[in-house]
């Protein structure tokens, strides 16, 4: 057995548990001391991630990496050694050593237990069935998401537990197109945070989520739930979210006093010397905290105590939560009930606001649907301010903008940042943008819910001058895509030159010319005046330039389906023009590489196939699996549909390349879930439509837009989405950036819900498509005689060509 000393051979702090609490302790320690070695033991095989945002995995298929709290480099820069996928097996408090599951011993000066919690699972029959999941880790999210998508609209999921997490889980399941019922033990949702009035309004607002109250589940069966009164609920997926149970096993074995959690004092110390506990595994003054803000407060106090500073004691927290439940804003702080209160409620708008008093002092607030003044109210509650007239105070809070807030009003609850800190970052420390102020103060870097307010405060501090730079289409003239599109529409510009003349774009650097060329063509539905000087070389000669200046040629092979005759022509061309490399691409077609510019027209002629646009920001390929024709698993004609889609979209330019995929069953051989637009057959001619996926520099699983009932509808929805993307994404912005940026709700509204919008999109798509032409036909009619040729080397013969008339005017 080896004794591993921490870095530099010195003993240091060992933190057990790679969650929010464990990382927060590391961060707080580093703020006080940059030298003490810190080792962070993480049971999960990944760096600490933001568990609070875990439901994003459920809704959008985000990855754990995207939720990482700190990148790998942070750990290296701050000399924190993460041990991933390792568990502390035993702790010897007398010897000050911790032994890992692989036998390694870590010597520590202080040990911090941040082992978190486990989901509480009721001991009822059926809890171990395969379709029953807790809602806790990324694996759970993936399993729930998959199951919900598989069930789709034909079945139903049940969520046991109507607390905060349970409602999040329900929202995630609903986002997969699966109906969901929340069953809750008590008479109101989120009973720990809400009173009867607000819970009722929340339930009304959750119109598309079925809620059953006062339900005690007796048994889970393969068919669903059986309640104590004998009623049943059909459910093919059951998610259990009734609470958490502190993970105290290691602490108890080490000799810590435990109750519900590991008992700690105001310095987060356990009864063992040099052993601390923080977060959901710790019990402080009888409370186990599962919210981020209290846990971060604990981490700071713990780090202070380790550094020998016992003045920064943790004296408990006033619970505060700010969240969106099914699109409804909710803020609660402190107690939900008191001995006096003021309430304003409006059932028509779904707004509920309540200020709770105890003995004449502010004790809590509930804001549903309208969070204005939440910071002001929270400050009153934290200070236990005397409130002579609660209704006055409640109404006055509506008016409290950033300017009216006191400097000590806490803005970011996660990182404990006050308004004054943010103001000073701008006025004294030179932060020029909200982003810089956030990086300096760390406000808004937790759950992110306070970001809009942080931006307001930065603007206030800077005298209203500060905005985050928008995305400019033309960086040198600082004009956005929207501004330029408006100019083009208003003035009827049809060419890049006209825009350049009027707006000055493209003049100075040329970098925005391809973007302008796309914009002019898109706004004019391809009835623009084409100017090739504004296009990349790829779009001037319709091939992809290679490192040696030659080009690659990829003919259209819709859906990856070809014929012997096409293959024969490809082979003949490859031999005739001595093409150095013939390769099958990832998009199921054939690439001829190393073709000289001069040979391009002859190669296209020999192929007799249309351009595959493999060089352009355009619709590339729609990858397909064999589907129903030959495959013994195929549920639908994915190949036929893929070919149909590729032909329907052929020739259209897009802000960035668009790749499609159509899979004939959930085995997903066409990898449709990592395409910009993907379809997966789920049986009975039903198709799951996915958007925003990619497997390039970034890997992102596509979001489920909807599940549709026919092949025709699938094509319609995908086409509508494509056109929306064509019109509204920034140039070079892939769908995997654009979709999360604008949000699925917006896309669903434009593509699925607003019929008029969807039909208008399809009409503009039809117009644009009607004006497309195979660019490889320019082999017969080049736009300029020298489109594909360099200039001839001037020889003696050139002297005879001196008289050629006036200078030509150049290309059209």
């Amino acid at each position: 057995m080896t004794i591993t000393e921490n870095r530099n051979g010195a003993r240091g702090v060992v933190v057990v548990g790679g969650g929010i609490a464990g990382l927060a302790v590391c961060e707080a320690l580093r703020e006080r001391d940059t030298l003490t070695p810190i080792t962070l033991v993480c049971a999960e095989p990944r760096l600490p991630y933001d568990r609070v945002r875990l439901s994003e995995i459920l809704v959008s298929g985000a990855t754990c990496e995207s939720l990482e709290l700190r990148p790998q480099e942070w750990f290296a820069d701050h000399h924190v050694t993460p041990l991933l996928g390792r568990r502390v097996h035993t702790v010897d408090a007398d010897a000050h050593t911790a032994t890992l599951d692989d036998g390694t011993q870590l010597a520590y000066t202080q040990l911090v237990l941040a082992t978190g919690s486990n989901p509480l699972l009721p001991p009822i029959p059926g809890i171990d069935l395969d379709h029953v999941h807790p809602f806790r880790g990324p694996e759970d999210c993936d399993a729930i998401r998959e199951a919900a998508a598989r069930i789709g609209s034909t079945g139903r999921a049940a969520v046991i537990g109507g607390g905060l997490l349970g409602l999040e889980a329900a929202r995630g399941i609903a986002s997969q197109g699966c109906p969901v019922t929340v069953v809750h033990l008590t008479d109101r949702l989120m009973e720990r945070q809400l009173d009867g009035g607000s819970a009722g309004m929340l339930q009304d607002a959750l119109a598309d989520t079925d809620v059953q109250l006062n339900r005690s589940t007796r048994e889970i069966t393969t068919q669903g739930l059986t309640f104590a009164d004998g009623d049943t609920l059909d459910a093919q997926l059951v998610v259990v979210s009734i609470g958490i149970k502190s993970e105290t096993t290691l602490g108890r074995a080490a000799g810590c006093e435990t109750n519900r959690g590991i008992v700690v004092d105001d310095a987060l110390r356990t009864n063992l010397p040099d052993v601390y506990a923080v977060g959901e595994c710790a019990e402080h003054r009888g409370m186990v905290w599962g919210l981020v803000a209290p846990i971060l407060e604990q981490a700071r106090a713990c780090a202070a105590a380790i550094a020998g500073d016992l003045t920064a004691a943790y004296e408990g927290s006033i619970p505060a939560t700010k969240l969106k439940v099914a699109g409804i804003d909710l803020y609660t702080v402190g107690d939900a009930e008191g001995d006096a209160q003021a309430v304003t409620a409006d059932a028509t708008t779904g707004v509920y606001r309540k200020l709770v008093l105890k003995e004449g002092r502010a004790a809590g607030a509930i804001l549903l649907g309208d969070l204005r003044g939440s910071e002001a109210l929270a400050t009153m509650v934290r200070k236990r301010a005397e409130v002579p007239d609660p209704l006055d105070a409640l109404v006055a809070s509506l008016e409290a903008g950033p300017a009216e807030m006191a400097d000590d009003t806490q803005v970011c609850n996660c990182n404990g940042v006050c308004k004054g800190d943010i103001m000073r970052a701008v006025t004294d420390e030179g932060a020029a943008t909200p982003r810089e102020a956030m990086a300096m103060t760390r406000a808004g870097m937790g759950c992110g819910s306070c970001k809009p307010l942080v931006i307001d405060i930065v603007q206030l501090a800077a005298g209203g001058e500060v905005v985050d730079e928008p995305a400019y289409l033309c960086p040198c003239k600082k004009q956005t895509r929207e501004q330029l599109a408006d100019e083009i529409r208003a003035n009827g510009y049809e060419s890049v030159s006209q825009v350049s003349e009027a707006c000055g774009t493209g003049r100075d650097c040329g970098a925005c010319k391809p973007a302008l060329a796309y914009l002019v063509s898109e706004v004019n539905a391809n009835r623009h005046r084409e100017e090739r000087h504004a296009r990349y070389i790829n779009d001037r000669v319709h091939g992809n330039i290679q490192k040696d200046g030659t080009f690659s040629v990829v003919p259209r092979m819709a859906g990856g389906v070809t014929t012997p005759s096409e293959l024969r022509r490809i082979a003949d061309v490859a031999e005739k023009y001595e093409i150095p490399l013939v390769k099958v691409t990832g998009g199921q077609r054939i690439d001829l590489l190393g073709v000289s510019k001069e040979d391009l027209p002859k190669v296209w002629e020999g192929l007799g196939m249309p351009s595959g646009y493999a060089y352009a920001k355009a619709v590339r390929t729609v990858k397909t699996c064999v589907g129903a024709d030959f495959c013994r698993f195929g549920l639908a004609d994915s190949m036929g549909l893929g070919v149909e889609i590729e032909k329907a979209w052929e020739g259209l330019h897009t802000p960035a390349k668009v790749k499609g995929g159509v899979s004939g069953c959930a085995r997903n051989c066409a990898e449709a879930t990592i395409k910009d637009i993907g379809l997966v057959a789920v049986g009975d001619d039903r198709w799951q439509v996915r958007v925003g996926g990619a497997a390039g520099g970034n890997v992102r699983e596509a979001d489920v837009l909807c599940t549709v009932d026919s092949r025709k509808e699938a094509l319609r929805v995908c086409t509508t989405f494509l056109q929306l993307y064509r019109e509204e994404a920034e140039y070079k912005e892939r769908t995997y950036d654009w979709v999360p940026k604008v949000g699925l709700d917006y896309i669903r509204a434009r593509v699925l819900e607003d019929e008029a919008s969807a039909e208008a999109l399809r009409e503009r798509f039809r117009l644009a498509k009607a004006a497309t032409v195979d660019p490889w036909l320019e082999r017969a009619e080049p736009y300029h005689p020298n489109q594909f040729t360099d200039l001839a080397e001037p020889g003696d013969a050139m002297r005879e060509l001196d008289v050629v008339g006036p200078p030509a005017t150049g290309g059209r």
């Binding site: 080397e793 003696d796 050629v804 030509a808």
Partner: protein, 118 residues
């Protein structure tokens, strides 16, 4: 092949109509590969090979007085060959003269010795 020399250093390169407006084209003069550009600001000539990785500059995107290499988007001034927005080496720039009859002549600058490509 002997270049057509009118003055000691001025060489016939092409006719104006040979280069589409707003674009560049490559030509070989005295064994050197030269990119000739015709933009709204006039005619320019620089070496064809980008000093970074040998990209064909004539295939780049030209603005009034600059060009962006098609391979890795390094930008150069067309009149001086100076790098813009990066600190790589410059390309050689050559003087261009366009006659009334549309003939375009180039006066080659001395060969620039480049360090090994980065």
């Amino acid at each position: 092949m002997t270049p057509t020399t009118l003055q000691p250093a001025l060489t016939f390169a092409c006719h104006a109509g040979d280069v589409p407006s707003g674009e560049g084209r490559a030509v070989t003069i005295d064994g050197r590969r030269i990119a000739i550009f015709r933009t709204a600001a006039g005619w320019f000539a620089i070496d064809q090979a980008c000093p970074h990785a040998g990209g064909p500059l004539a295939d780049g995107i030209a603005a009034d007085c600059s060009v962006i290499c098609p391979l890795h988007e390094r930008r150069f001034a067309l009149d001086t060959g100076a790098p813009i927005g990066h600190d790589g080496p410059a390309v050689a720039a050559h003087r261009v003269e366009v006659r009334d009859d549309g003939r375009v002549f180039v006066e080659l600058a001395p060969v620039v010795e480049l360090p090994a490509a980065a």
